[in-house]
Amino acid sequence: MDIFLQQLINGLVSGSIYAIVALGYTLVYGILRLINFAHGEIVMLGAMIALSVIGLLTDSGLPGLLIVSLGLLCAIPCCMLIGYLIERIAYRPLRHAPSLTPLITAIGVSIVLQNLAMMIWGKEFISFPPLIDVQYFSISEATINSVQIFIVIVSTLMMTGLNYLVNKTKLGNAMRATAQNAEVAGLMGVNANTIISLTFVIGSALAAVAGMMVTMNYNVAHYDMGFMLGLKAFTAAVLGGIGNLRGAMFGGILLGIIESMGAGYLGTLTNGMFGSNYQDVFAFFTLIGVLIFKPSGLLGKAGGERP
C-alpha cells in the first residue's frame, strides 16, 4: 500500500503528458487517416527550443518562473510553424497517394527532425536549469511536487479546452465535418486544406507544451526523447481508440498508470528478477493486448470512430 499512492501519482503525471501527446496523434488520424510518426519529434523540438531560450535568459536576472514561461511562449509558435510546414511540405503532396506512402514519409520526417536536432543541440543530455523553487507536499506516505501538480492542472485545462473547441465551436464543427466527409464539408464552404493545416497547428501547440512538461518533470532533454514518448503516446491513442479525442485522453492517463504500477510492483511480483527498468515493456504489452482483444480501442467503435 505504501507505494501504491506514490505510483498512482507518478502514473497520473506521466499519463497526463501521454494524453496531451496522444491528442496530437488522434486529431491528425481523425481527419487524414494518417499516423503522424513525426509528432513525437515535435514534442522534442518544443523541449529543445524552450530550453535554448531558457538557457539564453538564465543569467539575465529575471525571475525563474518568467524565464520558464518565456521559453514555453517561444516554443509554442515555433512548433506550430514546424507542424504546419511538415504537413504542407511532406504530407499534402501525398494526399491522394496510397496510405502506405504518407506513413513511410512520416517515419522519414521523424528521422530527419531527429538528426537535425542532433546537429543543432548535440548528442549530450541538456539539463533543465534549477530556476523554479520546487515545493514538495506529502499525502500520507506519498509525495507530490509543485511541478507535478502544475503538469496535471495544465493538461486538464488543455484537454477541457480542446474538447470544447472540437465539440462546441464553429471551427470544431468544421473539423468534425471534414473528418466525416471532406468532400461534402467542402460543399458547405469548409476549406479542407485550412482545416487540415489547423489540425496540425493545434496538435503541435499541444506537443510544445508537452515537451516543456517532460523536461520539467525529468529535468533533462535529449534529441531522441521524442521517439519513445511518441511511441507511447501512439499506444495511448490506440488504447483509447484512435481518432477518438476522449479515447486519447483516457488512454493516455490509463497507460501512465499501468506503466507506473507495473514499474512499482514488478520487482515484488517476480521476486526481484525484473525491476522497474522494465517499465517500457508494459506500454507495449498493453498495446499488444489491445490489438488482440479490442483492436478498435477501449472507447472506439468497430469500423473506426471519428472525432
Partner: protein, 255 residues
C-alpha cells in the same frame, strides 16, 4: 427578375475514354425551377459535379451572375452561392441535425481560429447566431423537433429534409437537388413539392435532377433533357414531353 443566374457554355468532361458530358450548354434564370432529366447514366450527376466544383470540366465555361467560375473549388462555389444535396444522402452521420446545419453556416461567418480558441465576445455572439439560424432552418424544412437527434438515426425522409436545410444554411442563390424525391411516397413527395415552392418564393433558384415525372412536370418552369452526355432537348414541360428525341431516349423507339 429575368437575368441569367447560371450560364453553362459548351461543357465537356471525359473520364479516360468515356465522355460523360459533351458540349452541354444551358442557362438558368433567377427565380426559376429548372429540371435536368434523362435516362440513367445520361450525365446529370456529372453536370451537377461540374456546377458545384467537384469536377473541373475539360472544356467549356461556367458563369454565375456573369462571373467566371470555371475550375473553382467546391468551397469557393459554396461561397459564391451554389449549394447541393446528393442522390445518395451524404450527411455528417455522427453529428446531430443541428450541428449538420451549423456546418452549412461555415462559409457565411467570419470569426476565425483565434476567435474560436479564445472565445472573445464577437465569436460567442456569432456562435449563438449560427445556432439560432440553424434552428430556424430546421423549423423551415419541418424537422425542428429532431434538432438534437444524431443524423444517422433520422428517418429517410427527414434525412433528405436535413440535407436541404444544410444546403440552405449556405445561403445559396442556386440550390441544386439531386433526386430529392427518390424513395418517397406520394404524400411525402407532395409535401416536398410545397417546400420547393416555398424556397423559390423566398428567392432561391432551384435546379433539380428528378425521375418523378409528375413532380417535374407540375413544378418546373423549364427542363433540359440529357442523353449519353448530350443535351437533346430544352424547353417547357409540355414542349419536352412531346419532343420526339426525348420519347426515343426514354422508350427506345424511333417515332
Amino acid at each position: 427578375m429575368t437575368e441569367k443566374l447560371l450560364e453553362i457554355n459548351g461543357i465537356s468532361k471525359h473520364f479516360g475514354g468515356i465522355s460523360a458530358l459533351t458540349d452541354v450548354s444551358l442557362q438558368i434564370q433567377h427565380g426559376e425551377i429548372y429540371a435536368l432529366i434523362g435516362p440513367n447514366g445520361a450525365g446529370k450527376t456529372s453536370l451537377f459535379n461540374v456546377i458545384t466544383g467537384i469536377y473541373t470540366p475539360d472544356s467549356g465555361s461556367i458563369l454565375l451572375n456573369g462571373k467566371a467560375m470555371t475550375g473553382k473549388k467546391p468551397h469557393e462555389m459554396a461561397k459564391a452561392g451554389v449549394a447541393r444535396t446528393f442522390q445518395n444522402i451524404r450527411l455528417f452521420h455522427s453529428m446531430t441535425a443541428l450541428e449538420n446545419v451549423m456546418v452549412g453556416r461555415h462559409c457565411r461567418t467570419s470569426a476565425g481560429v483565434v476567435g474560436a480558441v479564445f472565445q472573445h465576445p464577437k465569436a460567442k455572439t456569432e456562435e449563438m447566431a449560427i445556432k439560432n439560424r440553424a434552428r430556424e432552418l430546421l423549423e423551415y424544412v419541418g424537422i425542428a423537433r429532431h434538432a438534437n437527434t444524431v443524423a444517422r438515426n433520422l428517418s429517410y425522409g427527414d434525412q433528405r429534409r436535413l440535407e436541404i436545410a444544410r444546403a440552405l444554411a449556405t445561403e445559396p442563390l442556386l440550390l441544386a437537388l439531386d433526386e430529392p424525391a427518390a424513395g418517397m411516397n406520394h404524400t411525402e413527395t407532395n409535401s416536398l413539392e410545397e417546400l420547393f415552392r416555398k424556397i423559390r418564393a423566398d428567392g432561391v433558384t432551384l435546379l433539380l435532377i428528378e425521375h418523378d415525372v409528375k413532380l417535374v412536370m407540375g413544378l418546373c418552369d423549364r427542363i433540359t433533357v440529357l442523353n449519353f452526355g448530350k443535351k437533346i432537348a430544352e424547353g417547357t414541360p409540355d414542349f419536352v414531353k412531346n419532343h420526339p428525341e426525348v420519347i426515343e431516349a426514354y422508350l427506345g423507339v424511333s417515332v
